[in-house]
């Protein structure tokens, strides 16, 4: 414990900020464990790493070590954000930097370990980059790029995710060694007003999507009268296409806990819940362990840090209802009931869980708190755009080369996100069509927004929302009508059914959109969609319904032609709507390579060497396998 200060300071070196002139970005390195000579190995074992096959790697590493008579400490780490490079394995030997290897598989694992652990060099071919800790004397490897200088990371500023993928998620010591709980230790010496004032200065706004100023929420809860108060974390990250919170829950659970404890201290809460969706079993496991550790170390439970302040947290597992991300529904769900939203007021701040004053913030919001307390509100406000301070994490997915989890200062443009960080579009010849922000409640922004700096206000004015930060990049193979239909289908499935606009409005919109994608649309459908959208937006009970029409509205706003095309020409330019497709091979583009033939499940694709392919419409089931297979976009 005494050493925890040593290696733990944030190293401020690289210039990265977007504005405000504060060109510092915290980076976290796990200090070399004192007195330990064994090599250290970290495996990316978050849900995504595991999905990519990381759990098998652990066994293989163990087997390799055993075979070679070597010993090493193996640590699981969470998600560093590079989904495109999973599975990731980091290896470090004493006195040298930690090297991160990408796309590790049983094929290259032995080679990596051999080169790194036996040959004393690092495997240049597999290495992604090296993390050189300036606090320790480390001899860098030649020919291996600096981890933080890689394009994927260069433009990122990591506050929330600074430890994700870096520290062992089982280890509170790693957390402490990297400055963990410094925020809490400082906070307990401050008054409630002082803490809230720092949060106010930081400009932090709710990262759950609505962007309500966090300090104000805390103040309401603090000022509410009640014999008991609750500080609740909304970890019901339900937006499909968003997984920022999962990364924090799995990769750096204590940063969430620390934020919650500081919040509880500030508002005077004694009890807490983390409402986590059940689809995140690993996160729940890790969180539970973290809670035990925090209690053991006196950061949680009775008489925290000897201050007399007591606060404890219980994890509530969701049971599969997206609407429980809405705070009133979440409260009902915590209380064991149907997750139905309720009319506000009373707001949770005055009447929340079990009728007591309750403050609810999302994971990412809490994960910012400790850093703000340590470094001050002004420091945090040094990043970001005029209206939205700090950083925001985004789950960048879809048709980009480097999908993953990124954290950037607000105000970063869509182009920077998609091209600089995401590496551009997956398929060279298939262009960018839209970026979908904010999940099912968001909207699709077309190319003209490429230079727009992302913050709450800019997205809102474009018809999208920040939401929890999902960004799905769509290319020309994605049909906008179908995308709108997809989201509406999701909303219809997840609408709780309480209020008429959301329940019936979305269901009817879905029916209309389905009609259009089936080629049975009518021109007046557009007007109807607009009518219902407007009604649903203005009259729905909770946020779910109020934003549900966004995908439809943005589609009608930016891609009206495409909708009209579906209705009038019975044509889907993205070749996505099954009923509207008749695939043909474009003779001028076909290079007669034949790559399109093998994937065809019905042998409808006829091809002979050096001949243009031909599609038999009798047997074609429009599965699109050939379209996906053709590298030259010769099949339409």
């Amino acid at each position: 414990m005494a050493e925890e200060k040593k290696g733990g300071t944030a190293v401020m070196d690289a210039p990265a900020a977007k504005s405000g002139g504060l060109s510092v970005m915290p980076k976290r390195y796990v200090p070399w464990p004192e007195g330990n000579e064994k090599p250290q190995i970290w495996i990316g074992m978050g849900t995504c790493g595991t999905a990519a096959g990381a759990s098998a790697l652990e066994e293989e590493i163990q087997a390799w070590l055993k075979e070679h008579g070597m010993e090493a400490d193996i640590h699981p780490v969470g998600c560093v954000g590079m989904c495109h490079n999973e599975p990731l394995v980091d290896v470090q030997v004493k006195g040298r930097p930690r090297v991160s290897y990408k796309k590790v598989s049983s094929k290259n694992l032995a080679q990596i370990l051999k080169e790194h652990l036996q040959d004393g060099s690092a495997s240049k071919r597999a290495a992604f980059g090296q993390l050189i800790n300036p606090d320790e004397k480390q001899e860098p490897y030649d020919g291996i790029p600096n981890f933080h200088e890689e394009p994927f990371f260069k433009n990122q500023v990591k506050i929330v995710m600074q430890r994700c993928g870096v520290i062992d998620y089982h280890s509170i010591d790693d957390y402490l060694a990297t400055g963990g709980y410094d925020g809490l230790k400082k906070a307990v010496t401050m008054s409630s007003d002082e803490i809230i004032e720092e949060i106010k200065k930081s400009g932090l706004r709710g990262r759950g999507g609505a962007g309500f100023p966090t300090w104000m929420k805390w103040k309401f809860a603090r000022d509410a009268e009640g014999d008991a108060k609750y500080m609740v974390c909304n970890a019901d990250e339900g937006d499909p296409g968003a997984f920022m919170d999962r990364a924090v829950l799995e990769g750096d659970p204590h940063s969430l806990l620390e934020g919650m404890i500081i919040g509880a201290f500030a508002v005077g809460a004694q009890y807490g819940y983390i409402y986590c969706r059940a689809e995140y079993p690993l996160a729940i496991r890790i969180l539970n362990q973290a809670l035990d550790q925090a209690r053991e170390k006196g950061f949680l439970g009775e008489n925290i840090l000897g201050t007399g302040f007591s606060y404890d947290i219980i994890i509530k597992e969701g049971a599969g209802a997206y609407v429980c991300g809405e705070e009133m529904a979440l409260l009902n769900s915590i209380m064991g009931e149907r997750g139905m939203p309720m009319i506000k007021p009373p707001f949770p701040a005055t009447r929340g869980v079990w009728g007591k004053p309750t403050n609810i913030n999302n994971v990412e919001t809490f994960a910012n708190i400790a850093e703000i307390v340590v470094n001050g509100g002004d420091w945090y406000a040094g990043w970001g755009s005029e209206t939205t301070k700090g950083t925001k994490t985004f789950a960048l997915t879809g048709k980009v080369k480097r999908p993953g989890l990124v954290e950037v200062p607000t105000g970063t443009t869509i182009r920077e996100l998609v091209e600089d960080i995401g590496g551009g579009m997956t398929l060279k010849k298939v262009g960018f069509k839209a970026a979908q922000f904010g999940g099912p409640s968001g909207g699709c922004l077309p190319g003209e927004f490429m230079e727009t700096g992302i913050d709450y206000e800019s997205l809102n004015s474009g018809g999208a929302i920040m939401g929890s930060g999902g960004v799905v990049v769509l290319d020309e193979y994605n049909c906008m009508v179908d995308t709108a239909r997809f989201f509406m289908e999701f909303t219809v499935d997840e609408s709780c059914g309480k209020c008429t606009p959301c329940r019936d409005g979305t269901a009817l919109m879905l029916q209309i959109l389905e009609r259009i994608t089936h080629g049975e649309g009518r021109l007046e459908d557009i007007e109807k969609l607009e009518q219902i959208s407007g009604f649903t937006k203005a009259n729905s009970l909770c946020g779910l319904g109020q934003v549900a029409p966004n995908p439809v509205l943005t589609t009608l706003r930016y891609f009206r032609d495409e909708v009209v095309e579906h209705i009038v020409d019975k044509k889907c330019r993205a070749h996505s709507c099954d009923e509207l497709i008749e695939y043909v091979v474009l003779e001028d583009k076909c290079t007669t390579c034949g790559l399109c033939k093998p994937p065809c499940p019905t042998d409808a694709l006829e091809w002979e060497k050096k001949q243009t392919a031909f599609i038999n419409h009798e047997t074609c089931i429009r599965c699109k396998a050939c379209v996906m297979a053709c590298p030259f976009m010769a099949i339409k």
């Binding site: 309480k498 008429t500 019936d504 009259n539």
Partner: protein, 898 residues
């Protein structure tokens, strides 16, 4: 949110250009109502917190921001400006209706709601008259499996009002949403048929025809109906409702929002018990006895025969005639009946169903507090900090008062404390519970008083102001808890905990049920409760108090009219010469100079030939009391028995003359509810045959006897009665509103030795829970679906519940391998019988429950009657007995014994 709050209590708001000052916290819809502006609503119920689900009440707020708000839920801010008819509002409202109508089946011609359907009305008013969206309509089969309510989910607009009323007001949660989103359905859980209390409130709040009454289905169209506001006569609550009739036939009952004790709530009896008036079994013509038969006769002959019989007995000697009346009679009828017996027949042998009702409760509160009936109103119960229910299964015995208790739970999340011999529904909702051995109420109450004394829970001001009374109690309760723990089966700590919770409340209300007032040493038990209230400050704090519930409709009228030998009209004591003199003066007669017999004494006198004639109106002692009471033999021994009733009751079967009486729907008058509220009943149906009001019957007999009591209408009787019973002069006023406890009476009571016989009061009877050869304790009690026998003449209520099943503990049943529907034999000291068993988790092990209304006299007749002493109000106790239970194996044996 950070509004510049002005400290004023009123704010100025503008709706559609009209400016109005409203109290802070007023919602848009309320302000609009004040201005006479209509805002459509589906899910909004003034009684409940806004659900804000249907969104039809959307209005455009233009200041301080421009946004659509729900009028039902939005509290207005100072300076707020609202448009309820702007283009945007109308458009959104129309879209809302369009969305609903795209799915709602257009089956209005066959929908019972047609004509009073909000969706229909709003569509005409705000709809688009075209159906712009087409979609697949829902296609649920109509659920007609429940006995009373049909569910048509296709018509349902999912406003949730039914679920809210079931959960928040009725607190039964019999229905709920299942699934979610577009496919959400309302109904009973598990997809099963609804089986609930059938209060019907879900139907009342349904804005469309999704929930309809099976009993009224296709029987009316709203515009054909005539509406008559009247008082429900099934229990002591006295709810107000509209009895609707089509061509003089009852079509249905509908509640009246915000009116009367129930404030718009009804229970199953009130809602669906309107069929008995039209039952074929009604007596329609006078009957006279010819040998062992009752035969129809003319009115004149029946009157003359009755008069002759009564006059003969009167002539044979003073006190040879008796009169027994019941709570079915109106205040006016009771008054006149009493005058007939005491004045015309010159007998002091006048008693009533009050004797086997709550006379002990009524007497104790009258003597100690000067209040006849409840000292608290239902509204005070609603606002109570704590409600202590003892021996009172309120949801069964006084369902609407039960709702007031539930509202206290719901509103303030405040504790309801229940002591009972089974797990009652209200107990499960409450915060404190004591489940004791049946029949040991008096010991439980003693324990509670002792806990208050021992644990220093006595109200400071009371202790200061009445040190002597407190000291008297303290010394009386110096014994150990042993004598309480042993018979009741309770632990001292549990008793103390409950007492502490009750004492901690500032507005604590005690409600005593029939098992206290009609239990062993009922008068003492009730007095102890007064002690409990006294010690905890309940008699001196507004909103707190102690009350006995009455279960019969006009039971309190019986007390006010002095329908018991120890009472005189006005509710005073027979002992009180001044009160007696007042009556004599009013009637211009001399009253008999001795106090008459109570009912059980009358029975003895009848058997012994000291009483030879009697008139019984509106009650059925033979049917009501167990065989052991000897009512059948006693009444059967009379030379002349005159009975008036709606049906040929067990008593009427033994009569010499039977008059067909009118039901509450066929006569006018007033009845008094348990709060002391005098409310009117209004004739709206045609009486069958020759049926007449009881005041007419009495008047005719009196005339025939040469002692005319002539009135043109009940109003004239009431005017006369009001001279003796001031309560009759002001209708719809509760005792609480009249001032509650009379300080004078309380001081006098305390000064007069704090009730008499303190030592005897706190002596526990030796018989309490003593061992016997029979190990099960059988308790005969009330069921929500039925009260007395009237309800059993309702085919509707009988359809809902005709189960005369013996309830036993489900675990015990599992052990004994007894399943629902199995036949079991009960054997007691008075014989044995076979009944159908129904396991129930709420019954305690070792205990059995059987509904009192049951036509199966066999079980009732197992009960031995314990005659209460005069000090204990001469109340016969017939609720408990001990039996042995065994499963009857084989159908043959079961049938043989049946």
């Amino acid at each position: 949110m950070s509004t510049a709050t002005t400290k004023v209590d009123t704010i100025t708001v503008t709706i559609n250009g009209q400016t109005i000052q409203v109290p802070k916290g007023t919602r848009i819809i309320q302000a609009a109502e004040m201005l006479g502006i209509e805002i459509p609503t589906f899910c909004y119920q003034p009684r409940m917190r806004p659900n804000a689900a249907c969104r039809i009440c959307t209005v455009e707020v233009t200041k301080p921001m421009n946004k659509m708000f729900m009028a039902c839920a939005t509290e207005m801010m100072d300076g707020m400006e609202v448009l309820t008819d702007s283009e945007r509002t109308l458009k959104d409202r129309q879209t809302n209706l369009d969305l609903l109508l795209t799915q709602h089946p257009l089956d209005c011609p066959v929908c019972d709601k047609g004509g009073e359907c909000k969706l229909q009305d709003y569509s005409v008013k705000y709809g688009s008259f075209e159906n712009p969206f087409e979609t697949k309509r829902k296609d649920f089969p109509e659920d007609i499996r429940s006995v009373a309510l049909d569910f048509n989910s296709n018509r349902c607009i999912l406003c949730g009002g039914c679920i809210q009323v079931c959960g928040d007001i009725q607190q039964v949660d019999a229905i709920g949403f299942s699934k979610r989103g577009f496919i959400t359905v309302v109904g009973a859980p598990m997809g099963e048929a609804l089986d609930c209390e059938f209060c019907g409130q879900c139907m009342d709040v349904c804005p469309v025809g999704a929930i309809t009454s099976r009993f009224a289905k296709y029987k009316f169209r709203p515009w054909q109906e005539e509406k008559t506001q009247t008082t429900c006569t099934y229990c002591g609550c006295g709810c107000q409702y509209d009895l609707r009739t089509v061509d003089g036939e009852a079509s249905r009952v509908t509640p009246i929002e915000g009116v009367g004790p129930g404030q718009g709530s009804l229970c199953v009896r009130g809602h669906f018990g309107y069929h008995f008036m039209e039952d074929d079994r009604r007596i329609t013509r006078p009957l006279v006895r010819r040998g062992d038969k009752l035969v129809e006769t003319t009115w004149e002959e029946a009157v003359s025969e009755a008069a002759r019989g009564l006059a003969g007995a009167k002539a044979a000697g003073a006190g040879r005639v008796a009169g027994i009346a019941g709570g079915r009679l109106t205040n006016e009828e009771q008054y006149l009946f009493g005058r007939l017996v005491r004045d015309v027949l010159g007998s002091s042998n006048l008693d009533s169903s009050l004797r086997y009702g709550a006379i002990n409760g009524v007497t104790v509160t009258r003597e100690a507090l000067g209040v006849t009936g409840m000292m608290n109103s239902f509204d005070e119960v609603r606002a109570a900090d704590a409600v202590l229910l003892i021996g009172c299964d309120i949801t069964q015995e006084a369902p609407i008062l039960g709702l007031a208790v539930k509202e206290a739970i719901h509103k303030g999340e405040k504790p309801v404390l229940v002591a009972d011999s089974m797990k009652t529904e209200i107990m499960k909702r409450g915060a404190g519970r004591l489940v004791y051995t049946p029949g040991t109420e008096i010991a439980v109450i003693k324990g509670l008083v002792k806990a208050v004394v021992d644990e220093g829970l006595i109200d400071e001001q009371v202790a200061k102001k009445y040190p002597k009374a407190v000291q008297a109690l303290r010394s009386e309760l110096s014994g150990t808890y042993k004598e309480i723990e042993t018979p009741t089966g309770l632990k001292k700590d549990d008793i103390v905990a409950l007492a502490k919770r009750f004492a901690a409340a500032s507005k604590g209300i005690i409600l005593a049920g029939p098992r206290v007032t009609g239990g062993l040493k009922g008068k003492s038990a009730m007095t102890m409760l007064v002690d409990l209230a006294f010690l905890t400050g309940g008699l001196t704090t507004p909103g707190a108090g102690v009350n006995a519930i009455t279960m019969e409709n006009n039971e309190l009228g019986l007390a006010l009219n002095g329908m018991a030998p120890e009472l005189v009209p006005g509710g005073g004591s027979w002992d009180d010469a001044e009160a007696r003199g007042k009556v004599a003066t009013a009637w211009n007669c001399s009253l008999p100079n001795h106090q008459g017999d109570t009912m059980m004494e009358m029975f003895d006198a009848m058997r012994e030939g000291r009483i030879s004639a009697a008139i019984v109106a509106g009650t059925d002692p033979v049917g009501r009391l167990p065989q052991d009471a000897g009512a059948a033999e006693a009444l059967g021994a009379l030379d002349c028995l005159v009975v008036s009733d709606l049906f040929l009751s067990e008593t009427a079967k033994r009569a010499h003359v039977v008059f067909p009486a009118r039901s509450y729907a066929e006569k006018d008058g007033t009845v008094t509810n348990m709060e002391g509220r005098v409310q009117t009943i209004t004739s709206c149906m045609k009486a069958p045959g020759k049926a007449a009001s009881d005041w007419k019957i009495v008047s005719d007999i009196a005339r025939e006897m040469g002692h005319p009591l002539e009135y043109a209408n009940p109003g004239e009787i009431r005017a006369e009665a009001a001279a003796l019973v001031p309560q009759f002069a002001d209708t719809d006023v509760t005792n609480a509103a009249r001032g509650g406890v009379s300080t004078e009476a309380l001081e006098a009571w305390l000064a007069g030795g704090f009730g008499t016989g303190m030592g005897e009061r706190y002596d526990l009877p030796a018989k309490l829970n003593e061992a016997s050869g029979h190990e099960m304790r059988l308790y005969v009690g009330e069921l929500l679906f039925h009260s007395g026998s009237m309800s059993t003449y309702n085919w509707g209520l009988m359809k809902i519940n005709d189960a005369a099943s013996l309830q036993l503990n489900s675990r015990e049943a599992r052990k004994l391998k007894i399943k629902e529907g199995d036949r079991v034999r009960l054997t007691g000291d008075r014989g044995s019988c076979v009944v159908t068993a129904k396991p129930d988790p709420n019954i305690m092990p070792g205990t059995l429950f059987f509904p009192r209304h049951s036509v199966l006299d066999d079980v009732r007749n197992l009960v031995q009657v314990v005659e209460g002493s005069e000090e204990e109000g001469s109340v016969p106790q017939f609720r408990f007995t001990r039996v042995t239970m065994e499963k009857v194996s084989g159908v043959a044996e079961a049938e043989a014994s049946a």
